[in-house]
Symmetry: C2
Subunit: 437 residues, 2 copies
């Protein structure tokens, strides 16, 4: 194996030069084997943050992270395997209804999700609010559930992309997280390790998203699509609004209940619209529909016939969870107390801020400020008035379910500033801002 001089590689990237494929693979392999010290990797990551990667470097870096661990393959699953990944938002419970809807239509969904951190929630935390539901599966269990039900909803195994896990932890400690090439390669190395045929990305844009502006969101989407191309994996991205939370529920158990509503044909219009749009792309990529209207008809049929809800119930049972929650969401944890946030004036809601509401959720205990914090599945926020809604002074804007009055106290200032009431109806905003493919 050729060996390189790490200092020379750092200097080249620092001066804006490009690193070769063999050099990038060497860096990832040596760092994963703990033969490159953290301080050299930190200097390189800062240089990459400030000088970037070209397309070839990005493909090689991602490829090296992908090959640092196991790459899943499911020879017994004959259906095409398509996953969906969201860059993270508030009230973003899309995966929970989407996976069974898509699986019910004949596309396999080997979905590996994450936990919430900061103001954004995590699918794993939400699923764990179903009594008994286990997200950490062994490789055989993962494959069995996917083979039996055409879907699985699990946490990342330590065998997948260990280099990404190490590098992410170092980025988190060295101020090198918000870099488009580093984010894109981190996400894609994990997703490509799932053994998928295609991927649909939900790139969130707005105050509650990682990307505050459309231009940066579009660049991130384009970057991930290019990485997918380098590995012959089709990637399609929708850019969706995250200036306010998606749906009406922000929390964990309450988000599962709202997802079950969607699976039963109900649920708020914005959540249904985003879920249908992303699921339709998955059906197209999965080869089970030839156009979007056919895809949406199939998805509606899976809901109306009850097959999507039934699929979810079976999957919950396979994960060790109580399948009774699908018929009776009242079995989910509920908060001890409820507090109402009311409109300070009469008018129209001109702001219902995703970042403030997400951060309030963390203070309530529905999310976590640090990785090691526990999550209280029962607490959360139900939004009663969203952007554009007409309210009268004193009308409830939100119901806040809480268990600890001190936590409510800390959450309230954020909730009180999250809404703005104006005299005139604000301009409508598109929910699906654009698509990149």
């Amino acid at each position: 194996v050729t060996s390189f001089d790490m200092i020379e590689l750092i200097e080249r990237k620092r001066d804006g030069g490009a690193l070769g494929d063999a050099e990038l693979h060497w860096i990832i392999a040596e760092y994963t084997a703990e033969r490159i010290p953290d301080y050299q990797m930190a200097a390189l990551l800062m240089a990459v943050f400030l000088k970037g990667f070209n397309e070839r470097e990005l493909a090689a870096w991602t490829d090296a992270m992908l090959h640092s661990g196991e790459i899943l393959s499911f020879p017994d699953v004959t259906a095409r395997k398509v996953d969906k990944h969201s860059t993270g938002g508030v009230g973003d419970k899309v995966s929970i209804a989407l996976a069974p809807m898509v699986a019910a239509c004949g596309v396999a969904v080997p979905m590996i999700s994450g936990r919430g951190l900061g103001h954004t929630g995590g699918t794993l935390d939400k699923l764990e609010s179903i009594p008994g539901f286990r997200v950490q599966l062994g490789p055989d269990e993962f494959e069995d559930i996917l083979t039996d039900h055409g879907m699985v909803l699990a946490g990342q195994s330590h065998a997948i992309a260990p280099a990404d896990r190490l590098i992410y932890a170092l980025r988190d400690a060295t101020g090198t997280v918000p870099s488009i090439p580093l984010i894109a390669s981190s996400i894609m190395s994990k997703k490509l390790a799932e053994g998928i045929d295609a991927l649909v990305l939900d790139v969130k844009v707005g105050s509650g998203a990682f990307m505050k502006h459309e231009a940066a969101a579009r660049r991130l989407a384009e970057t991930m699509i290019r990485i997918g191309k380098s590995r012959d994996t089709t990637v399609v991205a929708l850019l969706t609004d995250m200036n306010q939370p998606l749906g009406r529920e922000v929390g964990n158990a309450n988000e599962i209940a709202e997802s079950i509503e969607v699976l039963r044909g109900g649920g708020p219009a914005d959540l249904v619209e985003v879920t249908m749009a992303l699921a339709a792309e998955m059906l197209l990529l999965g080869g089970v529909a030839s156009d979007r209207s056919e895809a949406k008809a199939k998805l509606r049929d899976a809901i109306d016939s009850g097959t999507a809800a039934e699929r979810f119930r079976d999957v919950v049972r396979s994960h060790g969870g109580d399948p009774g929650v699908v018929a009776d969401p009242g079995l989910l944890a509920a908060p001890d107390h409820v507090h109402e946030v009311v409109a300070p004036a009469t008018g129209y809601v001109t702001r219902c801020d995703a970042l403030d509401i997400g951060a309030a959720g963390v203070r309530l205990g529905a999310g976590r400020a640090r990785k090691e914090d526990p999550v209280d599945p029962a607490v959360g926020i139900t939004l009663l008035a969203k952007y554009g809604d007409q309210v009268e002074e004193g009308d409830p804007l939100a119901r806040v379910g809480y268990n600890d009055p001190d936590r409510l106290e800390r959450a309230l200032p954020l909730l009180e500033r999250a809404w703005e009431i104006g005299d005139e109806a604000p301009q409508r905003r598109p929910l699906i801002i654009g698509e990149v493919r």
Copy 2:
């Protein structure tokens, strides 16, 4: 003591923002106390490398490094204390004759020098070629020699600027060495800790120098002058040529012999010119001459009267060295063998490259590739033809003194390419390129 969030500080510098004085002092103190990990410091240093420091940040960073250790003061030394610092070159033995010349004129010179690394030589290595000469002095010994002789030539004590030593080692391992603010603050934190009233800088420019071009050398000089101002220490810089070695000797014992020649009124014209120019600035800053011609007259008198050579002899004795070398440089170590490099053609020397000759010296054993390598005091190169000299084919260009034939073998390819012979006399180049004050 206020505490800061290191990640937030890294992010601010990464995004081009400025750090506050208290923040910079906190970083240096916490890093020196090993409470900030190397990987966070490495990320910050790369961000500083790429985004820079403004004038205020640079002053605070230097001040914090300066205060990380002991700051010398010499209440018993009534003369003004002026030091000279060179950014490093090949054949740069200026300090050795300069310090006794200046001290003999009544200005105190508390000189702390370094060792050679890479193609540049180090004053300490040269001094150690004097039998018995000790460069590592205790604080009392340092003060005693300075008080008794008005000069001292020592290595850096570990008590001085420990933060700089730690940060320099990390920069060396993370590709963050060649940054003007980081170089300037590193040099100045050590020099300001010597308790000096003023400093003369010799900023070398050319192939054998750290700064290859005048513009960068000028920026470095300006940066150090600004740092000096922030601590009420006058700094004057001369930019001097380092495209070819200074003087005729490159090595250790042979450079001491050449320095003694200067002290006795001889020595090559270029070495004498640079030594006189720097020494004259020191006399002006030391308040013992009112203009340059008076300064130079005093310096010439110190040489002609023998007081400069006498001063050096006394200092050598105080450092434990054999004072007899001043009268008889034949007492210094000599190489076992000599090889001649000859002119391949008749014409004019159009290149006598400092970098190649310095690197050849390292291969011979006169310098070190790595910090832990030993130095052979006896080996070296004597230049017989320099830039602009007329030579005939077969004339000797250099005499190479060596002890190990394998090392000579490795040095020769560099020496053979170091000279270029052209048909026409090249244009004269100024030795003193400019001054910054």
